[in-house]
Symmetry: C3
């Protein structure tokens, strides 16, 4: 990424609206851990991001400590009361069926049905999101209000699903840079009809990919879209040693579409380049961000950072999964929670974050003592009581350019964003004041 | 110590009462730095803890920078007024005579006597504890109230003591474990008739020794009972290189019998295993403990941690010596200050502390990425909004098990007590999720 | 410096008055970056400090990244109104002319003159200090009140100055000690008629030099007096490798004459011996000092600490340059801002700081375990409830004397000033308790 690509602070609401519209297109597709919904979603995203390639791992394959389960396809699921009136139907919300439910068509009295119903008494209007991937069950999710309205009597439950040997799908895209070191951007695609904790991630990943493809860049960028947890496990099963050799920093894109405060969750090691860049960016663009601990993790970073894998993967989110009221319910929607503005803000923040990584090189002064900036046209000739903030930043940068610190470390010491400090570099290098340290 | 020995949180008041009764048996014995009182006290304790062996160092022996002084024996000391009425007598309190006083039988006027009297104007009912080991003196201690009541006139002072070539006594007991690394537990026995700052330590040491002798254990435990300061110097003189080679952690048991807040005093190095285990235990069992500095030291840790000796010895106390009003006076008694409950609480705390050491091994995951706990019967098959605290603790433990951290370090990161985390280990090891790192 | 030279806390007001009088003698001399005013000032100071030697660097010489400019001499400058009435004249204040102004004699209307006038609207009674060393200009400085009183009409401006090939001057003085390691004390001499931000530094440097010359000392002391910035650059150009080899600590003496709170500005590395000694001294003598960051620097430390030079130079000041209202104006004077008392306080503080460095050696105990101070006459023979503060300090010192810590580090741990702890050293060394570690 050349310096001209440093994003300014104006919000790109056009891209925000584009991401939001893309999420709405993905909304109705019935996704789960596996199945046609994931394939269809990935195919739709590949249309927007050339280079996005879909991969498959056959059911039954062993991936690290796990085995890929059978594929699961949902045709429809519904409940009728004794009069044949429709109580719930998945055409209204895919959340109405427990993920990976077995097929069933039976009539049973309310008291027996209750054991198969899931609702949230404390959120009476929300349909909860429930799955049972590894133990065969069936179940219906509905709002507490719907549940309370059920009258005694018989109900017919129809769940048309299939389990069959198939595959687990994921997609990746490598955007090559001028060096082989990679930045990993990972998000997940496996949740049915939830907006912040699912669709915000893939659409931001896609938008960033489109931006990266056009930008001159130093690093290679690896974009990965996997079903959460098992997908990253499968990806690591196949690509672990490559990732360990090449990844300098990575980020899990999750819950990035609402307008509430930002969140940071560290990598397991807590002090990787990914953590440093994330914290630096947040301190300058969103200083009121919420800082979480590794103990608060809950997504693919659990695998990326696991002992023996140890990738430098941090998370920069808006409202963190598990920490906002609409999480894992039907209330996490594209109308009230995720907005074009929220997405555009996250887009801008990640652009700064990635630019910070691109700009982050070690610099060294070629001049002993304070340099004479005046004869280089870089200093006002009239010395008055206060130097300008700009000149001060340049002098602070030079004063720390001892070849041992990278630009992120210098920017932290200078208490300025790296993208502000970096604006001085072209002139200072051209004028023989600074040079990059070859590594 | 096997996991079954992890103490639960119920207070063992029976052992508390046993310790308190033992302290009461020791109470009347006239102890000092040397002399028959120390020997009798050690012999009495050896009856309770088989394996406690008494040792002697002859008067005049050079021990490190010191020389063992002559033995001192107190028969009795008293003061009579001109009418022959008894003013003070050591049969009421051994504190009435300055420790190591020379013998005397003389009659002298009050104004001359005053120079030999010791009292505490700010604590008018307390008899102070005063000694003069290395300069020959005689003196009488009494309460300020007694002193103020003395009328002008002649007084007869009788101090029947003897200084003679004898020995300095101490006892130790090695409780062997399955490895040769040792945990040192040291307390002192040299104070006449004071409860918290003396008898609480030896009785707790004895109770812990009885418990350790029955418990399966990894480490060997070295219990040491010495006259304070000169005793630890003599012990180091004889055993220094063995202790330096084998001691992984040590604790000075002092002032452990009252019911007030706990105190922690670090080793000189401040970050030894003893310090880490002590702080971890206190944070979870007594989070309102008082944290002292090395500058506040005042007991045998001064020798154990001295430059060139450098044993990892920390102190976990209740009210620290010098920091509670009854300290070094007759008010430090077995009725108001030291209680069976206070002793039982310290017993429980030290049991947790020692279990923490026993449990503290390095663990390493045998699984790459998050393990599938479900197929091992360790995870609920139905995923709902909130995982249980228990499963979360297990996953956190696994996520830090990279072979570089010991269990104490992992427990600190997990913000849970080591004895809680350790409960997951048998199943996780049996299920090939974790393994111990051989060292 | 031997221990007898540890300054007591009484303020040396006589030396304070001497420094203040010396500053008043220097006051009228018209100093600038170069020129006769600097030479005259240095010559005057050399009379007070034998050994102070003046050096010259010819105009046009390249010094590091800079070139020494032509010399500049001011004869006089003034402004007359249309009636020939005097508006400003440099005989009232040398600040009335912009430093390095070109000569001019012209008559021009007020509206044209305005572009050449400098004043401070927010400080209406202050004449600002303005220079233009590297771009040729002319300008007049005056108070805002004077400026507002100017009536429309013509004004005659007369500036009699000369630029000519000459030299840049500086002085240094090496006060040899018993070893070749050096302490650098640097101040600057280039400001016309300002008291705290100029004259306080040279007069304190001179007073310290006179004190050092009489004191027995371990280190050599290098006193340097340079025009600010370009002078230190020229000095480093000539002496860099010697300074890098020999300097163990250095201090820039600037703004040391007022009575307001002390200030500390770190070296670039922030943890050098100079920083440790400065912080230690300030914590004990001026605990309410203001702590600045490297980002707040603004004097010769910019060069001394620059990358590739890396001298351990910190600044201990009173009101820091740029941080007090009179800074760089005519209000920074010898009557209200700089006082004999303020100078004497800084003198005392620097004496303690330098003694701290002299006393700072590594010590090691020769005794295992707590030493018997009593038989060495260093401990009261009667043990009572409270040891004295003095004995406690001695024991704390011994307990940290493991040969790895220097006395400054031990003093920090003991929470006592190094000059208090050091008072125990002669007896402890004589009594074979401690020894110095040879380095």
């Amino acid at each position: 990424m050349s310096l001209e690509n440093i994003p300014n602070t104006a919000l790109d609401l056009e891209t925000g609206a584009w991401m939001h519209a893309l999420a709405r297109t993905l909304w109705p597709i019935p996704r789960s851990l596996t199945g046609p919904g994931v394939r269809d979603s990935l195919a739709l995203l590949a249309q927007e991001l050339p280079g996005f390639t879909q991969h498959a791992v056959a059911s039954g394959s062993e991936v690290l400590d796990w085995r890929v389960p059978d594929e699961w396809a949902l045709e429809e699921a519904y409940v009728l009361d004794a009069n044949g009136a429709l109580i719930v139907h998945t055409r209204n919300s895919n959340l109405h069926v427990v993920g990976y439910s077995e097929p069933i068509d039976c009539t049973l009295p309310l008291e027996t049905l209750q054991a198969h119903l899931h609702s949230l008494p404390e959120q009476p209007d929300a349909i909860p999101y429930v799955t049972s991937y590894y133990q065969r069950r069936w179940g219906i999710c509905l709002s507490e209000r719907q549940r309370q309205a059920l009258k005694p009597g018989n109900y017919r439950v129809v769940i048309k699903t299939r389990h069959y040997a198939g595959e687990l799908n994921y997609a990746d895209c490598l955007i090559p840079g001028s060096c082989s070191e990679e930045v990993l951007l990972s998000s997940y695609i496996c949740h049915p009809q939830m907006a912040n904790n699912e669709l915000s991630g893939p659409v931001l990943l896609t938008a960033l990919g489109r931006w990266l493809q056009q930008a001159p860049r130093r690093y290679s960028y690896r974009l990965v879209l996997v079903p959460e947890m098992l997908g990253s496990i499968a990806y690591l099963h196949q690509h672990r040693s490559h990732l360990q050799r090449h990844t300098i920093a990575g980020f899990n894109l999750s819950c990035v579409g609402d307008e509430r405060a930002y969140s940071y969750l560290p990598s397991r090691a807590e002090n990787t380049l990914a953590d440093r860049a994330a914290l630096h960016t947040l301190r300058h663009l969103a200083p009121d961000f919420q800082r979480y601990r590794w103990l608060d993790r809950g997504s693919d970073e659990s695998n990326y950072c696991a002992p023996g894998i140890d990738l430098p993967v941090a998370s920069v989110m808006r409202s963190k999964y598990g920490a906002y009221p609409e999480y894992h319910t039907s209330l996490d929607d594209l109308d009230k929670v995720v907005t074009a503005r929220g997405l555009a803000q996250s887009y801008r923040l990640y652009q700064h974050l990635l630019c910070g990584l691109e700009l982050n090189r070690k610099v060294r002064t070629r001049v002993l003592g304070e340099p004479q900036l005046g004869r280089r046209g870089l200093y006002p000739s009239l010395s008055t009581k206060h130097s300008t903030r700009n000149v001060r930043g340049m002098l602070d940068l030079i004063s720390y350019a001892d070849g041992s610190l990278d630009l992120l470390a210098i920017a932290e010491r200078c208490e300025r964003p790296i993208w502000e400090l970096a604006q001085h570099l072209p002139a200072l290098i051209a004028q023989n004041v600074l040079e990059y340290v070859d590594e």
